[in-house]
């Protein structure tokens, strides 16, 4: 119980909560907090160049460490610029606390300079938000906010702090125990449901694990438990985009990602399975394809920490609300207690091997040195060159993201940072900044498209300022490739505004910021270029020119079923009915 200013309380609370890094940008309404930070050298403040980047950097920090990311921005435009990253964190369940300055309480509601209704604007894109009107409430609210951001299904929490509340003095207090009066997420799974689930798995002839970001969020132990349960049951595993890394990609039980750009074998196995065990995944439309044709023959078990995810899209036979890690541990224990043995799934695996034989990720390419580089080849070469270095990979959004998901393989969680739910172009580069801050000695690579990268390219300055050795690997096809691909599929190749015109010279841009720039033009330069990127100590931007018109396959077209995958470009028809066009 100490008397201090509101701003000092904010910083003291961050120190008490173990925060080591804050991503932010100063402005009038947060000057008192910035002044308090000045006196607290234990907290590292990373000055970004745009508030959106602060939020994505915090996401990258959070996703790569499992700790909450912290953002500090000013009122008005500072807060509105942060909204995209806050929404991104909500959809991908990333723990984040965003502190926003606000005009003094006496001016709220008067359209004051740099005033916006931050709690109103962020009400539906946060897990929870606060407007603090009394400095005595700052301590309890900050501690509660971190609790809410990190417990249950993680998510972003906004704390809006008027400037006079930062200046006024009050009593800083820490709640003894966070025992929220209404928010008590269920983390322990129901024991009867676990027993029933274990029996269903033991009895299944064609089971499949469908895992998602919830396994990553549940911590590395959850990934370990998943591996153990898969080994016990012998069942195949597929994963959503957000779940990549929870199960090792070199394991023979791994089928690859599922969904719109997932593998043929994972989608066919989902379709033909007699039991789906969904763990921390939410049956997103990118995963299910056409709902009335989604896995028609299967019973479905759904493990999720968020009850509202269960039965939202796909009705399931057995719901288990709880933490993915605890549920997997409980399943392993139940499996042992009942003395279940893995069934002979030989027939199921023979069918899966049949689907694998389509080699759906193969792509046509020319092999001579002067040939243009297929983007898939570039990702594969990047994977081969960085294997063994345990890199952290971030992506922007689009074709390059899907190629990275398909061709870059992960053995461990927290190495793959991508914007899945919101699909935010401009996410990947600042996320790489956040990941590199958290892991200064690791190899952090942002796989980017030339269009997405430009959405937050100003962060090159941040990287230079903090001497971060971030690598950006651009698959530059001079198109908003995914938009163009959809225009080919849906709008008879009318390329409305999908060409990347007036691109900067990325090598010169690198030079302007004191980075190293490398341009790769053909297949013969690919391996050397990547090696130079890895061997260069500081930040590097690689402008890898790839085949312009390559498209991302396999693909479940909009409104189609898992069994209707397009495997190769020549399967494209070029028109689509309105029902399919209307789907996102």
């Amino acid at each position: 119980m100490t008397e201090m200013s509101g701003a000092d309380m904010v910083v003291q609370a961050l120190v008490d909560l173990g925060v080591d890094t804050v991503f932010g940008y100063p402005g009038g309404a947060v000057l008192p907090i910035y002044d308090a930070l000045f006196k607290h050298p234990t907290i590292k403040h990373i000055l970004v160049r745009h508030e959106q980047a602060a939020t994505h950097a915090a996401e990258g920090y959070a996703r790569s460490t499992g700790k909450p990311g912290v953002v500090l921005v000013t009122s008005g435009p500072g807060a509105t610029n942060a909204v995209t990253g806050i929404t991104d964190a909500l959809l991908d369940s990333i723990p984040m606390v965003v502190l926003t300055g606000q005009v003094p309480t006496t001016l709220i509601g008067t359209d004051a300079f740099q005033e916006c209704d931050t709690v109103g604007i962020t009400r539906h894109c946060t897990k929870h938000n606060y407007l603090v009107m009394d400095p005595d409430r700052l301590g309890p609210i900050l501690h509660e906010a971190f609790y809410i951001a990190t417990h249950g299904r993680p998510g972003p929490v906004v704390i809006d702090i008027p400037k006079n509340v930062q200046v006024a003095t009050g009593t800083y207090s820490i709640p003894n125990r966070i025992d929220h009066k209404s928010y008590r997420p269920q983390v322990d799974p129901d024991a009867d449901a676990i027993t029933q689930a274990a029996a269903m798995i033991a009895a299944a002839e064609r089971p499949i694990f469908y895992t998602g970001g919830g396994v990553i969020n549940a911590g590395p132990d959850a990934s370990a438990a998943l591996r153990q349960l898969v080994a016990l049951t012998g069942a195949p595993v597929t994963s959503t985009l957000m779940g990549l890394g929870a199960f090792p990609a070199d394991d023979d039980k791994w089928l690859g990602m599922l969904g719109m750009h997932g593998t043929y074998e994972s989608n066919m196995a989902m379709n033909r399975a007699d039991l789906i065990i969904a763990v921390g995944a939410r049956f997103d439309d990118r995963v299910t394809g056409r709902l009335d044709a989604f896995s028609p023959e299967s019973k479905k078990i759904h493990i999720d920490i968020d009850r509202s995810s269960i039965n939202k899209i796909v009705p399931v036979d057995l719901a288990i609300v709880g933490d993915a890690g605890r549920a997997l541990d409980a399943l392993i224990a139940a499996w042992g207690d009942k003395g279940y043995k893995a069934r002979d799934l030989g027939e199921w695996w023979r069918r899966i091997d049949g689907w694998r034989a389509t080699r759906c990720l193969d792509f046509p390419e020319k092999k001579e040195d002067g040939a243009e580089i297929m983007p898939q080849r570039a990702v594969k070469a990047l994977f081969d060159a960085t294997r063994g270095r345990d890199p952290i990979i971030t992506t922007e959004v689009g074709q390059h993201q899907m190629w990275a998901a398909q061709h870059f393989h992960f053995d461990s969680p927290n190495r793959w940072l991508t914007s899945g739910g919101l699909g935010t172009m401009g996410y990947g580069f600042p996320a790489a900044v956040g990941a590199q801050i958290a892991h200064p000695d690791r190899l952090v690579i942002c796989v980017a498209g030339e269009a997405s990268l430009q959405m937050n390219i100003q962060e090159m300055g941040t990287v230079s300022q903090y001497r971060l050795p971030v690598k950006i690997f651009i698959l530059n096809n001079q198109w908003m490739g995914m938009v163009r691909q959809w225009q080919e599929l849906t709008y008879e190749s009318r390329y409305s505004n999908s060409y990347s015109d007036s691109l900067p010279d990325f090598v010169k841009l690198a030079d302007a910021y004191g980075w190293t720039g490398i341009r790769i033009d053909n297949l013969g330069e690919l391996a050397d270029g990547i090696q130079r990127m890895i061997d260069t100590p500081g930040p590097v931007i690689v402008d890898c020119r790839v085949a312009q018109l390559a498209n991302c396959f396999p693909m479940i077209p909009s409104g189609a079923a898992h069994t209707d995958m397009i495997l190769q470009p020549n399967d494209i028809t070029g028109t689509m009915d309105d029902e399919a066009k209307a789907l996102v």
Partner: protein, 171 residues
């Protein structure tokens, strides 16, 4: 292409929440953001220390949508409990309307007579108008208002539904 909508059944939800600024916006925003219906919504502070409010929401939708509404409400941080009153068996619903009817002569007498049949109370009168207070289910209030339209109805204010489960148990 036509956009299809699904028909549903009426449900009354009782939601207890922290009595704090913005909670009503959070609840109504959830309904609008996710495309759920609100037929009526009432809210008032219900605890001695003013810490809790009770929101009664009348909504409609297919069973799966109602389940989603309950789950979505329940995961909001300031929400303490969500109860579907249709689930718990019998419940009592009431709504109050204030109904202003203007007129003279036979119409005025007919309005008063019908109000008596509906057990509506006269809460204000002038030489040319009545204000009736009627309490009952929404159906009863609807029927009374429909009759008053024929007798010089000029204005209506309704509270929306409040509801509570029968029996000795609390939520």
């Amino acid at each position: 292409m036509k956009i299809k909508t699904e028909a549903g059944e009426r449900h009354v939800l009782a939601v207890t929440v922290d009595n704090e600024a913005g909670i009503l916006a959070k609840i109504t925003g959830l309904f609008s953001a996710r495309g759920y219906n609100i037929e009526s919504l009432t809210v008032a502070d219900i605890s001695a220390d003013h810490a809790l409010s009770r929101i009664t929401i009348v909504t409609s939708g297919p069973p799966a949508v109602i389940d989603q509404i309950i789950a979505q409400l329940d995961r909001l941080v300031p929400v303490h409990s969500v109860t579907d009153l249709a689930d718990g068996g019998a419940h009592v619903e009431r709504e109050i309307a204030l109904v202003k009817v203007a007129g003279t002569g036979d119409k005025r007498i007919e309005a008063l007579r019908m109000a008596d049949v509906f057990r509506a109370k006269v809460v204000d009168t002038t030489l040319t108008s009545f204000i009736f207070e009627i309490t009952g289910t929404s159906d009863k209030v609807d029927r009374f208002i429909a009759l008053m339209r024929e007798c010089g109805l000029v204005e209506v204010g309704r509270t929306g539904v409040v509801a509570i489960a029968r029996g000795s148990e609390a939520l």
